[in-house]
Symmetry: C2
Subunit: 150 residues, 2 copies
Amino acid sequence: MEVNIRPIGRVHSPYKSREEIKEIAKENIIGEIEIFSEFGKGLKDIEGFSHLWILWIFHLSKGSPLQVTPRTEKNLKKKKLRGVFATRSPNRPNPMALTLVELLEKKGNVLKVRGIDAIEGTPVVDIKPYVQSDKKDKARYGWCEEIDFK
Amino acid sequence: MEVNIRPIGRVHSPYKSREEIKEIAKENIIGEIEIFSEFGKGLKDIEGFSHLWILWIFHLSKGSPLQVTPRTEKNLKKKKLRGVFATRSPNRPNPMALTLVELLEKKGNVLKVRGIDAIEGTPVVDIKPYVQSDKKDKARYGWCEEIDFK
């Protein structure tokens, strides 16, 4: 069984290439999510939410190794291979990305958002609201707890 | 541009049909995510995380209206149509679901989890860890703030 996923919009981003996205968690990058006009009616009520999940395609993903060294750990003296499902790596069996952004403004079919980590032109396949049950106050973050995010 | 998504595993759930999933946020339902053996190595390190995002396919999704009445609002006297991207409705342009579960145990390629809201046999397409930046302390939840979740 396979499923065909089609873009509903695209990212407009100050990042123009993969190389420009070198660090994780640049939370302040502002960009836009342009939703194609035929899906515009699906944006009704979205302005009530401060944060949105953007599902997009890692369209430049290279291969799908099952274990990877996360970019946050690339500078460690002792490199570690992590299971890809324990990372947000772009190189994974299905090239699906999940980014949480802050919605700043809605202008027609264009959402101005903070927290873009995709490059210009990236295909967007879904938007979902960030809801109360997405906030877990008590969580363990595995290997990410050892990382000094800058 | 279209992208083919293939299952990496499947859900084992006490829910056997759509009709059995009538209410949102039954957070205590326990089930399993079985990852197919060829993807098993991708689960390394996952046990360090208390919560996981499960991306799965609404394989029984019916159509893709751009505006829907969320099931939490079906009993309101005055029904409201919400933009589908402001809801987690299963009927959407791309039938992608996003569920946050608590990881209880890992046994080989099977993850025992709490928070299943998919039916038996649902195709799973990705697993991602719940990381620190997924927790937003100050968020607005739009129309969901008006709902009395039970």
